[in-house]
């Protein structure tokens, strides 16, 4: 089983530093193609950007199959979320979390970066129940048109460009007059998400719960559980990690627990599933014996 700390993800130490607004020069802690975990509060004035590193690393060496690498405690966002939304953020049902990343909006070049053609979208979908690790807990996405891929890529880039151009550091609290998060993730009416990034009807975010969602794999007290999907705008390019055209492939799940800890749990390899099954049996057996 591959289970390790975030050695190739941006370090937690880096993520514990909240970025400062700046006037010029690109954010050195962000690069196009990075996966951004973001938060907003419906009706609030603050949003939060948190860079989780290159989106492609969450995909693994193939798309949507059991080759991802788990990474626990990628980041500790508690102090940031407290600053942005108050000490009760974990039980605040007006707070929403989502994921989005794209390398380029270019629709003409056949360039491949980290296995991804331009306009490859990485976006979240809320899990409707925690369910099982390695299984999608959401219906996923299909983008109907090539133009839709460009629209989606532009929307994600527009959101994340604010993070790149207006802040320095891996985490930023961004007010809604500056942030692109609230612009790209709208609401139809209170509590009902509108279209995200111009193409995802119903949005891509998960709404906070009054209580936690429970335990998901290695993570307890999960407050948000976001399935990560990769959507390809092109196929058949040299060097790309293949997948179905414009259909989201489930790559794993990002969780945020009640103390702000961010973790990624990939689709486990078959041997890992067997191991997890044995481990679960062992835990149950131990609990049963302790009750005797």
């Amino acid at each position: 089983m591959k289970l390790k700390k975030s050695c190739f993800f941006l370090g937690a130490a880096t993520l514990s530093v909240v970025a400062l607004p700046k006037a010029n020069a690109a954010n050195t802690a962000y690069a196009p193609g990075d996966l951004v975990l973001y938060f907003q509060q419906e009706g609030g004035t603050n949003t939060v950007y948190a860079n989780l590193g290159s989106a492609a690393q969450y995909r693994g060496t193939a798309s949507g199959v059991a080759d991802g690498t788990n990474a626990l405690n990628i980041a500790d966002l508690n102090s940031t979320l407290v600053s942005a939304f108050g000490a009760g953020w974990a039980s605040d049902t007006t707070i929403y979390a989502g994921l989005a990343g794209v390398f380029s909006t270019n629709s003409t070049l056949n360039t491949v970066t980290n296995g991804d053609p331009f306009r490859t979208l990485y976006v979240s979908a809320a899990r409707t129940g925690l369910g099982n690790v390695g299984e999608a807990g959401s219906a996923g996405y299909t983008v109907n048109t090539n133009t839709g891929m460009t629209t989606g890529a532009t929307g994600i880039a527009t959101q994340n460009n604010v993070f790149e151009n207006s802040y320095e550091g891996a985490i930023a609290i961004s007010t809604t007059d500056i942030s692109g998060i609230d612009d790209q993730n709208t609401f139809l009416s209170p509590g009902v998400q509108g279209t995200a990034f111009g193409i995802f009807g119903g949005g891509v975010m998960q709404q906070g719960q009054a209580g936690d969602l429970g335990t998901f794999g290695e993570e307890d007290n999960v407050e948000f559980a976001l399935d990560l999907y990769r959507i390809l705008a092109k196929t058949g390019l040299t060097g790309q990690v293949e997948g179905a055209l414009r259909e989201g492939s489930y790559e794993g799940t990002i969780t945020i627990n009640s103390t702000g800890g961010v973790s990624f749990q990939a689709v486990p390899e078959p041997s890992s599933i067997a191991f997890l099954g044995m481990a679960a049996s062992a835990v149950l057996l131990r609990r049963r014996r302790s009750n005797i």
Binding site: T142, N144, N146, L188, S189, G198, E247
Partner: protein
């Protein structure tokens, strides 16, 4: 009584004795736009089994494709045992609600949702129907497995609920702008329609460019439980949840409008005026305000669009006569092609939308010509949306999925005038009212 529950108990209690095949019941609800295509597809699948089956419906003999309530019972290809499929179409938004709402947690579930399906008592051998001895209208409550909708669930208050599959689109539903008999409005742009929805009435000159046209055009349409309304508010760019101002007919003859009124909050004044209905109120988005209601029935709207408006008393939401005397009133609305053809046959007139008209079907016939269809499939004409065919989120495998797939795959061959197969579309869109492009 939920017979599915008891059927489940029966299966459990006899599982040890019977080697086989659990019978399955699949209930279908939602929008009516693909009603005929759905019923024809169900029948086609039972036909394909090559085994005799029975069906019963609430229409006249041979007219089952127009049924609201129908029941089929027999062998469905790919499903062991007996498959029963029942329909009870109740509208787009209510259909989605029927799948996401929980009977266990909502005490008013069955009273809110017309998810009442005829029982097997309706089955009488072969085809039975309204006028057949043996047909029964005895109904029972059940939560549907499948629902059709003219709009995506993301355009409804149930956006946050999950349904299957990720891509539920099973066809394209085409709409048209329509004006009532005798109107001189021939084209409606998105701008004009937004202006009409914002204020409820606009000078006729706005639509004709002729300053001598000093009478008024009145906006009319459905309440917010309607997929058609959701489509026209999205397509025109007005906004799905932005309150509108619409008029409905209070009094009319079979050929002429007599009184129209801006829909009052709640749909009814106190005391009620003739022809008012509480069902016309818009309650889905919590915006039951003056003007925001509309027809709760598409068939009533299309009937009224076939009437002239040469001398009409126009009331505001309080019931006060706005002009103090009867005036000429032109109505503009937006209907699915099926409904528009029915209205046209009664005198209503197809309008161009943003300068593009479905010329052939506007003149006659009930199906689009190749030229009309090409305007849609290539993106010149944008008044269309995807028909969604959803499954409940908990239905991810098994016989219900087999039934779902069987019907969905049969729909393109049974669409008729209802729509266009997705495979024929050169362009697409991502959300209701979204950009139309390849």
């Amino acid at each position: 009584m939920n017979t599915k529950f008891f059927a489940g108990l029966a299966i459990v209690s006899t599982a040890a004795a019977i080697p086989a095949y659990a019978d399955v019941t699949v209930d279908i609800t939602g929008a009516t736009a693909f009603r005929a295509a759905t019923l024809l597809s169900i029948k086609a699948r039972f036909d394909a089994s090559g085994v005799a089956y029975q069906y019963s419906h609430d229409q006249a003999a041979g007219a089952f494709s127009g049924a609201t309530r129908a029941i089929f019972k027999g062998t469905f290809p790919g499903v062991s045992g007996i498959t029963t499929i029942r329909t009870s179409f109740n509208g787009s938004v209510e259909g989605i609600r029927a799948l996401v709402d929980s009977p266990a947690s909502d005490a008013t579930y069955y009273s809110n949702i017309a998810g009442n399906f005829v029982t097997a008592a309706a089955i009488g051998g072969g085809e039975t129907h309204t006028n057949t001895v043996g047909f029964s209208k005895t109904t029972e409550s059940a939560q549907a497995e499948i629902a059709f909708s003219d709009v995506s669930k993301s355009s409804t208050p149930y956006s946050g609920f999950s349904l299957q599959p990720a891509n539920a689109a099973c066809g394209v539903v085409v709409f048209t702008m329509l004006t009532n008999e005798g109107s001189t409005v021939s084209n409606v742009t998105s701008q004009q329609f937004r202006a009409l929805m914002a204020s409820g009435m606009q000078p006729l000159s706005l639509f004709t460019g002729n300053p001598a046209d000093e009478t008024f055009v009145f906006g009319t349409g459905r309440n917010d439980g309607s997929g058609t309304r959701t489509t026209y508010l999205a397509e025109s760019g007005y906004g799905i949840t932005t309150p509108v101002k619409q008029f409905v007919t209070n009094v009319s003859t079979s050929t002429a409008l007599s009184t129209i009124q801006l829909v009052p909050a709640g749909g009814v004044n106190t005391p009620a005026l003739p022809g008012q209905s509480a069902a016309n109120a818009s309650t889905v988005w919590g915006q039951d305000v003056d003007g925001n209601g509309g027809y709760n029935s598409g068939s009533t709207l299309r009937t009224d669009m076939g009437k002239t408006g040469t001398s009409v008393t126009v009331l505001d939401e309080t019931g006060t006569d706005i002009f103090g005397e009867p005036v000429r009133a032109d109505l503009v609305t937006f209907l699915s092609l099926n409904d528009a053809v029915t209205a046209r046959n009664n005198g209503a007139v197809f309008c161009a939308y943003n300068g593009v008209k479905l010329d052939d079907i506007a003149a006659g016939g009930s199906t689009m010509s190749a030229a009309d269809k090409a305007k849609v499939t290539n993106g010149l004409y944008t008044a269309w949306g995807y028909q969604q065919m959803y499954r409940r989120n908990d239905i991810t495998s098994g016989d219900a999925v087999t039934v779902y797939n069987g019907i969905r795959n049969a729909i393109p061959a049974n669409l008729g005038a209802a729509g266009i197969p997705i495979a024929d579309m050169v362009v697409g869109r991502e959300v209701d009212g979204g950009i139309v492009a390849p």
